[in-house]
């Protein structure tokens, strides 16, 4: 919408310029201006004119006295990009409009980092499992496209730290990192030019490495209980993970899905002589017990 308005205004300005009678007037533009900074445009000639500065996101219009310098205070132009300048002398017999262009460049000091860290959750000990991409912006939200050093740091709950430095290309820098062997909440920090941004990466245990249960008679029932369920890195599999106990006996079966609580799963099921008891968690099978009592 905004861009459309700008284009229409630009077209109207150009149309007005074509119809204006010719009068002397010229521009002496800077090659580039940092976003948000003050700048000036000297003019030459005599008489009055309208000065248009037209960019993709912004249009400025000033009535100027030709031959004087036009001053623009700080913050006048804040969107980086290429701007067209049109000087349209006014009045009868004015000369043709003069057009020129200059660039507004991002402020080279970072003010904000956009940090995309993926995934938010991943298993431990995964090579190149974590990716971080940082985009560096100035105070006006312009992407700073000049190369800039960026530092990435992944800190685990045990104090282990992975560091990686990169230089932005076209405003972006990215890294890949390994998840550590220990579960927990990692802080993933990116910093550039004195500012930083933090994301949280949760490293979670993998599938159970071994699943072992024991059975104990308790009246007419069997008390089934797993040993603490650990992954292959020795991390406790998270509570809430479903463990399935099954009991197959002559002509029948009992099944119960139990969530891990405090690292173990326990359940009480009816005892059947000669029953085969088994345990599984996801696609991991545990031991079997034949109950002969």
């Amino acid at each position: 919408m905004k861009a459309g308005v700008v284009i229409v205004l630009g077209a109207l300005a150009l149309a007005a310029v074509r119809e204006t009678p010719a009068q002397d007037g010229s521009l002496n533009l800077p090659k580039s201006v940092a976003a948000g900074s003050a700048f000036s445009i000297p003019t030459s000639g005599s008489g009055k004119a309208a000065l248009y500065i037209i960019g993709l996101g912004q249009v400025l219009k000033r009535y100027v006295q030709l031959g004087e310098t036009v001053y623009f205070p700080e913050g006048s132009l804040h969107d980086a990009g290429s701007y067209v300048v049109i000087l349209a002398p006014a009045g009868a017999g004015a000369s043709a409009a003069e057009t020129d262009a200059f660039d507004v460049t991002p402020v080279p000091t970072p003010a904000r980092l956009s940090f995309l860290a993926k995934p938010s959750r991943l298993p431990v000990s995964l090579h190149d499992g974590i990716t971080g991409a940082a985009y560096v912006f100035d105070a006006y939200g312009n992407l700073i496209v000049t190369p800039m050093p960026v530092s990435f740091q992944l800190s685990g709950p045990s104090g282990s730290t992975q560091k990686s430095d990169a230089v932005t290309k076209a405003g972006a820098a990215w890294v890949e990192m390994d998840s550590t062997g220990k579960q927990g909440i990692d802080q993933f920090v990116v910093s550039a030019g004195g500012i930083s941004s933090t994301r949280v990466i949760r490293q979670v245990p993998g599938d159970p490495c071994t699943l072992k249960m024991s059975a104990q008679a308790s009246g007419q029932k069997l008390q089934l209980k797993t040993d603490p369920v650990l992954d292959c890195s020795g991390n406790a599999v998270l509570d809430g993970t479903i463990v399935t106990f099954s009991e197959a006996y002559d002509g029948g079966q009992s099944t119960v899905d139990v969530p891990l609580k405090h690292g173990i799963a326990a359940v009480s099921i009816p005892a059947h002589h000669g029953a085969t008891l088994s345990v599984a968690c996801g696609i991991v099978l545990g031991n079997q017990i034949r109950w002969e009592q």
């Binding site: 956009s114 995309l116 938010s120 959750r121 245990p205 479903i242 119960v256 996801g282």
Partner: protein
């Protein structure tokens, strides 16, 4: 007058006439449904006595229904009503009696036995409830002896439950671009098998939540022709457990009515998952699980709610495998009674006869819903 106007006038007149006739001289069934009069007849035969009981149950006239029983000394009206409708809030609570069937089993001059099947309309489809009724002749009438089912009483006790639940804080609309959201749970289809049946193509499979957080899951399948164009897209609506706890596996069945497997070149499967707040409880034990082969094959068993709260709507999902471990079929059955704590509740899932012959093993899970949620 135009022909269309004449036709409209004719139909309007006929409609008004029919409404007037129906209001002034309604049929007995309409009167009964309007509550003006009932379809109750004389209980001069065992069938008539049971029909009367069925009508009274249908109209929720518990007082009359109870008064017609022969064994009132053995149960109170409250017990009779809740034996029919359930003691706790469940599917049956919000259902209505659609119709009933009566099958005579035995009859003599003074007593008779009938099978009385009540078909309840529930939100998940019809639920039959079969009772075997004994009737006694009292004078010229017959009276029903309602089969008294003992309601198991759980002794007063405290069941310690360590609640484990997951809450989710998602990315908000005001968050800046680049603020990461939490990832959706990682789920995987571990088995998939299309089956051609007389009524269409069925895609069966199993879905594993391989993540460490609970997931709301669904599976969409698209049948594709030789040229890659889509024949139809359907998703697993009912025959899937939509809430999967970490490392839990659910079967799924997707139905493509009237489709033919011969015209299908490939099937595109799209598992869907999203984070959801969930509780690790209740734990439901499936006990005495039996596969009953034969002409009326079924899976039977009992559900035992190991927790201390009532589970209002349980659904049993069964995965059937052949000898080689290949998926044969997925069955499901809602239990229209709530599961009280520590109390076995029986279930029976019918299995198509032709498929039952292939079944070698089965795996059951229970999906549950509790009013008010498990907090």
């Amino acid at each position: 007058m135009k022909r269309g106007t004449l036709l409209a006038f004719f139909f309007g007149t006929v409609t008004v006439a029919v409404v007037i006739i129906g209001t002034l001289w309604p049929v007995p069934a309409a009167r009964a449904y309007a509550g003006e009069e009932s379809l109750i007849e004389s209980s001069s035969t065992p069938e008539a006595a049971v029909r009367n009981l069925g009508e009274e149950i249908r109209t929720h006239d518990w007082q009359k229904a109870y008064a017609s029983l022969a064994n009132r000394a053995q149960l109170t009206e409250f017990e009779f009503e809740h034996d029919v409708t359930g003691y706790d809030v469940g599917l049956r609570t919000y259902s209505s009696l659609d119709h009933y069937e009566i099958s005579p089993l035995h009859a003599s001059d003074n007593d008779a036995t009938l099978q009385f099947t009540l078909y309840w309309s529930t939100v998940v489809g019809p639920q039959p409830d079969t009772r075997t009724l004994h009737l006694l002749r009292v004078g010229n009438d017959w009276e029903v002896e309602w089969p008294v089912s003992e309601r198991p009483i759980v002794p007063p006790q405290v069941i310690p439950v360590e609640y484990l639940r997951w809450d989710v804080i998602n990315r908000g609309p005001g968050d800046d671009w680049g603020v990461q959201d939490v990832d959706a749970p990682s789920v995987r289809i571990v088995d998939m098998h299309p089956v051609q049946r007389a009524d269409g193509v069925f895609v069966l499979g199993e879905l594993l939540n391989q993540d460490v957080v609970p997931a709301y899951v669904s599976v969409t399948a698209t049948l594709q022709r030789q040229d890659g164009s889509a024949i139809a897209t359907e998703d697993a609506f009912d025959r899937i457990s939509h809430i999967l706890l970490p490392k839990q596996v659910t079967p799924f069945l997707i139905e493509f009515p009237d489709a033919s497997l011969a015209s299908v070149r490939s099937i595109r499967m799209e598992p869907f998952s999203t984070l959801v707040s969930a509780s690790a409880d209740p734990v439901i034990e499936i006990d005495n699980q039996h596969f009953n082969a034969g002409p009326e094959a079924s899976l039977t068993g009992e559900l035992i709610n190991e927790s201390g709260q009532v589970v209002n709507v349980p659904e049993v999902l069964g995965t059937l495998y052949d000898q080689s471990g290949q998926l044969v079929w997925v069955v499901d059955q809602y239990v229209d009674h709530a599961l009280p704590p520590q109390t076995p509740v029986a279930f029976k899932i019918p299995i198509p006869e032709d498929l039952a012959r292939k079944v070698s093993s089965e795996r059951l899970i229970v999906a549950t819903y509790s009013f008010g949620g498990y907090l």
